[in-house]
């Protein structure tokens, strides 16, 4: 593996009495594409939400590009991070949400320029150029002055992707980005992610229920169940050769075709 971009070291997370992550160790290399799969409630979304600093881990350390995310070093000791430190590390990370979370009071273009202008400090002209470039990449170059409420779900999600991309994060997180879409709109969103993945530079972590897609795009599949990483490996190994019973049971719920002959379906 290339140098690690993201690493989880014995990370645990509880919500009240319920422990959703029970000690996760995971390293993700620079430029690597990792798909997190697993039943709902297995903790995969929580795993990336902690990386986006939307949830604080109960214990353990998360590092981004060698820097602890939720901690900072003071006199060689790790202490809880302050807002300044969080903002500094957070700028490396971008996220696309299941429910898009576009800003409804801004046009498509404004959605993509507001953060470059007010967070990165770009001029309006620079921000616009960057935004237009990204919106063209997601094939929405003709929708610049439209409001989100006038777009279809698939178009909204592509705007959300452009909005995250203009910040040029090192790590992009995709949280079940097609789960809220009508089936016929899933394809256009996956297509954009696939293109991004093939460009290769960006580290990508995808939480997804689209098994075909995960197998096609990811370098590595990580299977979580009940708060643990139960199995991980290259797609071929996970989808074809794994002998893990829980993984096989999980995969048997999805109908998978082509690419690899499947032996896991008959469980």
């Amino acid at each position: 593996m290339t140098r690690p971009m993201v690493s989880y070291k014995n990370v645990r997370k509880s919500f009240g009495q319920i422990e959703v992550l029970k000690g996760v160790n995971l390293e993700i290399g620079e430029g690597e594409k990792v798909a997190l799969i697993g039943p709902s409630g297995s903790g995969k979304t929580t795993l990336i939400r902690m990386l986006m600093t939307l949830e604080q881990p109960t214990s353990g350390v998360i590092e981004v590009d060698g820097t602890p995310l939720w901690h900072m070093e003071v006199n060689k000791k790790l202490v809880p991070a302050n807002e300044k430190h969080l903002r500094n590390v957070r700028k490396n990370i971008g996220m696309v949400f299941q429910h898009f979370n576009l800003f409804p009071h801004m046009t498509v273009l404004e959605n993509c320029t507001v953060a470059p202008i007010h967070v990165l400090g770009l001029s309006k002209k620079e921000a616009r150029e960057r935004a237009v470039e990204m919106l063209e990449k997601v094939k929405l170059g003709d929708k610049l002055d439209v409001y989100p409420s006038q777009l279809s779900g698939g178009q909204k999600q592509r705007v959300a992707m452009a909005r995250a991309l203009v910040m040029r994060p090192k790590v992009m997180l995709f949280d079940e980005v097609t789960s809220a879409l009508d089936p016929e709109l899933v394809g256009e969103v996956l297509e954009v992610i696939r293109e991004l993945a093939h460009e290769g530079k960006m580290t990508m972590i995808l939480v997804t229920h689209e098994m075909e897609f995960a197998r096609d795009v990811a370098d590595r599949i990580v299977f979580l169940d009940n708060g643990y990483i139960v199995a991980e490996g290259p797609p071929e190994q996970i989808f074809e050769y794994s002998s893990n019973e829980r993984l096989k049971r999980f995969l048997s719920r999805f109908r998978l075709h082509s690419v690899y002959p499947l032996t896991t379906r008959s469980v």
Binding site: E83, G94, L102, F103, V146, S149, L151, R163, M167
Partner: protein, 237 residues
């Protein structure tokens, strides 16, 4: 008692002049309540529970006490409080008193607007690494404020009608002007009728305006409506 147009001719200009003070006072009180209201709302979101609890307690106290009592306290009692007490002019006492009183209401209105903003908006702002201040000014408030403008407008009208209470501490608005004229000339029918007429003349159109605003805002925030308009324009099919 007979309606006398000569008295009307005599008193009308006095009350008309006093109207400007009443209006100015309304706007000043309203400005205080709008600014202070948002400050209360933000303080009530502070991370420390004891602090929120204290702020809520203060607000509840202010809201549960009649504005008239607060005006009397500010004007007559406050100057006598040792160390912190200061003498206020009637107008200053009125602006502070009513402004603070109504800020407890506008604070509730702001809160309802902010609570109505989807949680995902906060998360998106954080994911884009907005500072806290930018999150408020660029993302949350622009969505929280428009839907509550009609409610805030209603408080303007309610507050306007509360201004005559300031006559009790000697603010020479329309009310006190009419009362003093009456006391001097032993006529009350015409002066107070004119005062009522002015209040009607100003509040009724305002309430119509607020109703219109409410309809407009509702439409703006009804997504189906927006979509419908978009379809008509051919943006989506």
């Amino acid at each position: 008692m007979i309606w006398d147009w000569n008295i009307v001719k005599d008193v009308f200009p006095l009350i008309f002049r006093a109207m400007w003070l009443t209006l100015g006072l309304t706007l000043a009180c309203y400005a205080v309540s709008l600014v202070l209201g948002i400050i209360w709302t933000l303080l009530r979101r502070a991370p420390w529970a004891w602090f929120r609890w204290t702020v809520n307690g203060v607000l509840e106290f202010i809201r549960s006490t009649p504005p008239l009592v607060q005006l009397y306290f500010l004007f007559y009692a406050w100057p006598l409080v040792p160390h912190v007490g200061v003498t206020l002019s009637p107008i200053a006492a009125a602006i502070i008193g009513l402004g603070v009183h109504y800020s407890t209401y506008t604070s509730e209105v702001y809160r309802s607007g902010i609570d109505a903003v989807d949680k995902g908006q906060w998360e998106a702002a954080l994911a884009l690494n907005f500072s806290r201040a930018r999150t408020w000014t660029k993302v949350i408030l622009p969505q929280a404020i428009p839907p509550i403008i009609p409610m805030l407008g209603n408080y303007l009208i309610i507050m306007f009608k509360e201004i005559p209470t300031t006559a009790s501490i000697g603010v020479m608005g329309m009310m006190l002007t009419a009362k003093m004229y009456g006391a001097q000339h032993w006529v009350y029918l015409e002066p107070f009728t004119i005062v009522a007429f002015f209040f009607l003349l100003l509040s009724y159109p305002s309430s119509l305006f607020v109703q219109w605003l409410e309809k407009k805002m509702n439409r703006r925030f009804d997504k189906n409506e927006v979509l419908h308009e978009a379809k008509q324009k051919g943006v989506v099919v």
